[in-house]
C-alpha cells in the first residue's frame, strides 16, 4: 500500500516530533531524577568537610579541590598549545601537507577513547615520567584530551574575524605577529573562551582517564604531586561499590549543577559573540 503524499507528510511529521520530544523527555528524566534525589543532600557540611570512612559519611571537599586542581592543570597546559596550533593553522600557513598532518592528528586525538587516554597517562606520566598517581599526571593526561576541542573552537573563532582586520593591520605596517596579537586575537577572544569553558566541562565530567592517572585518594591534596580523587571518580566509586547512595546522589547533583552552569556561561558567551559579530 502506498500512502498518499498528504498522509505520509502527517505521519512523518508525527514521528519526527515524537522523536524530538522523546530526547527532551530522556534528558529531563535523567536531570530531574538526579537533582530530586541529590539536591537535598547538599549542605554546607557536605561541601566543606572531608569524606570520612571511604565516603560513607562526611562531605566531599577534597574531591571538589581535586576536580578543581586537575581541571586547572589541564586547561593551563592545553590552552597555549591549542591556541598556538589554531593560529598556526589559520594565520601562518596555507593549507598543505603540514596542516593536513596537524588536522589529522587533532581529529584522531579527539576520537581516542578516554580509557585509552587513561592507559597512556598511566604508563607515560605515572610510570615512565615517575609522576605517580597525582594531580599533575591527571591534569596532563586531560590536557591532551581537551587539546582538539580548544584547537577547533579557537580556529572557528579566528575564522569568524573579518578579513578586513588583517588588511588594516598589515596596511598600517604591522607585522603578522603584531596584526595577530593586536587585531585578530582580541576579537577572537570570546570564541576562544568558549572552547576553554567547553573543555572545563569535559574535565569535570571525565572519569576513566582520571581514575587511572590521578588515582582515587580521599585525603586533601597537598601539592600538584599528591594523588587526588575528582568528583566524577568519587561518584563512580560510591555508586558502583554501593558505599553511600545519599552521598553518591549529592555528588551527582553537584556535578550536574556544575555542568549546567558551565553550559549557561558558554551559551551567554556565544550569544554575545554572535551579537557582536553582526
Amino acid at each position: 500500500m502506498r500512502l498518499d503524499s498528504k498522509t505520509a507528510e502527517k505521519f512523518a511529521k508525527a514521528i519526527i516530533w515524537s522523536a524530538a520530544l522523546l530526547v527532551i523527555a530522556v534528558l529531563l528524566a535523567v536531570i530531574i531524577y538526579i537533582l530530586a534525589k541529590g539536591v537535598p543532600e547538599i549542605s554546607w557540611d557536605f561541601l566543606s568537610q572531608i569524606p570520612r570512612s571511604m565516603g560513607r559519611s562526611g562531605g566531599i571537599s577534597s574531591t571538589i579541590i581535586g576536580t578543581l586542581l586537575v581541571t586547572l592543570v589541564a586547561v593551563a597546559v592545553a590552552t597555549p598549545f591549542g591556541i598556538g596550533t589554531a593560529f598556526y593553522l589559520t594565520e601562518y600557513t596555507r593549507e598543505g601537507k603540514i596542516t593536513r598532518v596537524i588536522r589529522f592528528s587533532a581529529e584522531s586525538l579527539a576520537g581516542i577513547p578516554s580509557i585509552v587516554y587513561g592507559l597512556f597517562g598511566f604508563i607515560f606520566f605515572v610510570i615512565y615520567l615517575k609522576l605517580g598517581w597525582s594531580i599533575l599526571s591527571g591534569g596532563l593526561t586531560l590536557a591532551i584530551m581537551i587539546l582538539p576541542t580548544i584547537i577547533r573552537t579557537t580556529e572557528e573563532a579566528i575564522l569568524a574575524v573579518p578579513y578586513m582586520y588583517r588588511e588594516v593591520g598589515f596596511s598600517l605596517g604591522g607585522t603578522r605577529w603584531q596584526t595577530i596579537t593586536r587585531a585578530v586575537f582580541p576579537s577572537a577572544l570570546p570564541g576562544i573562551a568558549n572552547g576553554i569553558i567547553l573543555s572545563i566541562g569535559r574535565c569535570v565530567a571525565e572519569t576513566a582517564a582520571v581514575i587511572l592517572t590521578a588515582g582515587s585518594a580521599l585525603q586533601m591534596p597537598e601539592s600538584l604531586f599528591s594523588p587526588a580523587r575528582t568528583m566524577a571518580v568519587h561518584f563512580y566509586i560510591l555508586a558502583r561499590e554501593g558505599i553511600s547512595m545519599e552521598n553518591a546522589f549529592g555528588t551527582a547533583a553537584l556535578l550536574i549543577i556544575l555542568i549546567f552552569i558551565i553550559n549557561v556561561v558558554f551559551n551567554m558567551l556565544v550569544n554575545r559573540f554572535v551579537a557582536k559579530g553582526r
Binding site: A8, L119, I259
Partner: protein, 284 residues
C-alpha cells in the same frame, strides 16, 4: 630585526602546532610498546579469537569482549541513529525558532552530563525494567545499548543537523516549486544530499559508543562469555580495561594494554573513515 622576529614567531607557532602530532605519536608508541609483547607471546590469532580470559592462569583471549563491544555498539546504533536523524531533521526543518533555541542548549547539556551519571541512571531505571519485563538479569547488552544510544545522540544530531543546514537553499526551493511536499523534499532530496555528513556523524557516534567505558561498566554485567541473546550480560574491550586496571600487574596489565591496542586500532580505522568521507565531500 622585525623580519627575524617574524620568522621566529612562525617557527614557534609551527613547533606548537606539531604538539598534536607528537602527542598522537607518543600515545601510539607507548600503548603499543606496552601491549604488543603479550600479543606476540600469546599469538595474534589466539589473542583476538581466544575464548578464554583467565589472567591468573595466563589465558588471554578477548574474542568475547570484541563480540560484546560490537553487539552493544550495534544495539546503540539501531536505537540511537533513527532517533538522532529524526531530531536533526526536526531541528533543521520543522522546529519553530523558539524551540530550536531551547533544543540546542539541551543537546549540549545532554553531551555534558558525565557518563557515570548515565550509567547510574541506567542501573536504577533501565536495568530493573529489562529484568522485570523482558527477563534475564537486567544487566545486559540491551541495557548498555540504551544508555549508549542516549550518549551518542548529541554527536549524531549536531553533525547531521549542520550538514542538512549546509545545503544550498535552492535545493529546497526548487523541490518545493516543483510541487513536492515538505516531507518528500526532506526524504528524497535533503537527506540524500546530506548523506555523507550524516554517515560521518554516525561513524563518529559509533566511535564514541565503542570507546565509552564508565557508563557501560555499570549496566553490562561484565561477564566474559559469548552472549546468546541481547538480554545476556557481556564485557566489552573498554570495560575489560576499566574493571581490571585497578589491580592488574605484570602480564595481566600488559594484556589490558593489548586490549587497548585492539581498541585503538578499531577507533583509528573508524576515525580515518569518517575523516575521509568528510574530506571527499569537501573536495567535491
Amino acid at each position: 630585526m622585525k623580519n627575524m622576529k617574524e620568522k621566529l614567531s612562525g617557527r614557534i607557532f609551527l613547533a606548537v602546532a606539531l604538539s598534536t602530532l607528537s602527542a598522537l605519536a607518543v600515545i601510539t608508541v607507548f600503548i603499543f610498546i606496552k601491549g604488543l609483547p603479550i600479543i606476540g607471546k600469546v599469538g595474534v590469532l589466539d589473542f583476538v579469537f581466544g575464548m578464554k580470559w583467565a589472567p591468573s592462569e595466563g589465558a588471554f583471549g578477548i574474542f568475547p569482549m570484541i563480540v560484546g563491544s560490537v553487539a552493544v555498539t550495534l544495539g546503540a546504533v539501531i536505537i540511537g541513529v533513527p532517533v538522532a536523524l529524526c531530531c536533526s531533521v526536526f531541528l533543521a526543518e520543522f522546529a519553530p525558532v523558539w524551540m530550536r533555541n531551547l533544543f540546542r542548549p539541551a543537546i549540549q547539556l545532554l553531551a555534558g552530563i558525565p557518563s557515570v551519571v548515565y550509567g547510574f541512571w541506567g542501573v536504577i531505571f533501565i536495568v530493573p525494567f529489562i529484568r522485570d519485563y523482558l527477563g534475564g538479569p537486567g544487566l545486559s547488552i540491551l541495557a548498555g545499548s540504551v544508555i549508549l544510544a542516549i550518549m551518542i545522540l548529541p554527536t549524531i544530531i549536531s553533525i547531521s543537523e549542520v550538514s542538512i543546514l549546509a545545503l544550498p537553499r535552492y535545493y529546497k526551493e526548487g523541490a518545493l516549486a516543483l510541487g513536492l511536499t515538505h516531507w518528500q523534499t526532506i526524504r528524497s532530496l535533503l537527506v540524500p544530499a546530506a548523506k555523507s555528513g550524516i554517515v560521518a556523524a554516525v561513524i563518529l557516534g559509533i566511535g564514541r559508543a565503542i570507546g565509552e567505558t564508565m557508563a557501560v561498566i555499570m549496566v553490562l554485567g561484565n561477564a566474559v562469555a559469548l552472549p546468546e541473546s541481547i538480554l545476556d550480560p557481556v564485557r566489552t574491550l573498554t570495560t575489560n580495561i576499566g574493571i581490571e586496571m585497578g589491580y592488574a600487574s605484570g602480564e595481566h596489565q600488559e594484556a589490558l594494554f593489548a586490549t587497548g591496542v585492539v581498541l585503538f586500532i578499531i577507533i583509528m580505522i573508524l576515525n580515518a573513515t569518517a575523516q575521509y568521507i568528510v574530506r571527499r565531500k569537501r573536495a567535491r
